[in-house]
C-alpha cells in the first residue's frame, strides 16, 4: 500500500532526546545568558564578536536540540540554514555606505 522510497527516510516514530537533555540545554542557555550580560559590561574590543558568538551558540542550542534538527532529516536543516547564504550579501550591501 505504502509507496515510500526505502532510500529515503520513512514516516516513523522519532528518536527525540529525553527530558534530561532538554534540562541540560536549558541550563546551558541560562548560563550563557548570564555570561552575555556580564560580557556586555566589559569595554575591550573583543566584546562585540564575543557577544555575537554567544548569541549564535544559544541559537544553535535551541535549533539543534529543542527544534530537533540534530535528530531530524537533513533536509530541514538545509531549508533552515540555506537562506543564511543570501542574508550575508543582504546585510553586507545594506551596511556599505
Amino acid at each position: 500500500m505504502k509507496h515510500v522510497d526505502p532510500a529515503k527516510e520513512a514516516l516513523q516514530p522519532h528518536r527525540y532526546p529525553g527530558v534530561r537533555t532538554y534540562l541540560l540545554v536549558f541550563a546551558g542557555l541560562a548560563l550563557l545568558t548570564l555570561i552575555e550580560v556580564a560580557v556586555s559590561y566589559i569595554t575591550a574590543g573583543i566584546r562585540v564578536p564575543l557577544l555575537i558568538l554567544l548569541a549564535a551558540l544559544k541559537a544553535l542550542l535551541v535549533i539543534l536540540f529543542f527544534m530537533h534538527l540534530r535528530y531530524d532529516s537533513r533536509w530541514y536543516a538545509f531549508i533552515f540554514f540555506a537562506p543564511l547564504v543570501l542574508v550575508i550579501p543582504l546585510i553586507w550591501v545594506s551596511l556599505i555606505r
Binding site: Y22, T33, E36, A59, F66, M67, F80, V87
Partner: protein, 198 residues
C-alpha cells in the same frame, strides 16, 4: 490552516513521496521565510544603529530584559517538554506544560508592553524622536507580534489537547507549534544581543 493531507493515505497511497511529513516540511519552509523577514529587519536595524549615537541604547533596562529573556527560554523548555510528554502519551503533562508555556509567553509579552509604555511615556525613547528608537520599536514590535501570534496558537493547541486530539502516535500539530515557538525564541536570542547588549 493546519489541516493537511499529511500522514494520511489518499486512495490507498502514502501522501509523501519524499517520506518527509508535509506539515513539518511546510513549517520549516515557513520558518525559512521568517529567517528572511527578520534578516531584512536586522539589516535595516544595523544600518540605523550605525547612524545613531553609540550610547543610543543606554536608556534600555538590561537587567529587566535579561530576566525577560530567561522567561522566554523557560517557555521554550516547557514547549520542548510538552512534546516529550505527548510523545509518551502523557496527556496531563502535555496540558500542564502547554499552560506553563502560555504563562511564560504571556509574562514576556507583558514585560515588553510595560517596557514600551515606560519608554514612550517618559519620552526617553519613541519611534518618532530618534532613528534608534524607530528601529528598536519596529524590530522588537515585530518580534512581540510573533509572540502574540504564538500565544494564540498555544491557546488553540491547549484547546485541542483538552479535546483529546493528540496521542503518542499523532502529535504533529504540537510539534509544529513547538517549532514556531522555538523559532521566535531564537529570534529573541539574537535581538537581545544586537539591540540591548551591543
Amino acid at each position: 490552516m493546519s489541516e493537511t493531507t499529511s500522514s494520511l493515505t489518499v486512495h490507498g497511497r502514502a501522501a509523501s513521496a519524499t517520506g518527509l511529513d508535509s506539515a513539518k516540511l511546510g513549517m520549516w519552509l515557513f520558518l525559512a521565510t521568517e529567517v528572511m523577514l527578520f534578516s531584512a529587519m536586522i539589516a535595516g536595524f544595523l544600518d540605523m544603529r550605525g547612524r545613531s549615537p553609540a550610547d543610543a541604547n543606554h536608556v534600555l533596562n538590561i537587567p529587566v530584559t535579561a530576566v525577560n529573556t530567561f522567561v522566554l527560554i523557560c517557555s521554550s523548555l516547557t514547549v520542548a517538554l510538552s512534546v516529550a510528554s505527548i510523545e509518551q502519551g502523557n496527556q496531563k503533562r502535555l496540558r500542564t506544560f502547554l499552560l506553563l508555556t502560555l504563562l511564560f509567553g504571556g509574562t514576556f509579552l507583558s514585560v515588553q508592553v510595560f517596557e514600551y509604555t515606560k519608554l514612550i511615556g517618559s519620552g526617553e525613547l519613541t519611534p518618532w524622536n530618534s532613528l534608534f528608537g524607530a528601529g528598536f520599536f519596529a524590530v522588537t514590535g515585530l518580534h512581540g507580534f510573533h509572540v502574540f501570534i504564538g500565544l494564540i496558537w498555544c491557546a488553540l493547541t491547549i484547546l485541542w489537547a483538552s479535546q483529546g486530539k493528540f496521542s503518542a502516535q499523532n502529535f504533529m500539530r504540537v510539534e509544529v507549534f513547538g517549532l514556531y515557538w522555538h523559532f521566535v525564541d531564537v529570534v529573541w536570542i539574537i535581538l537581545f544581543v544586537l539591540i540591548y547588549l551591543m
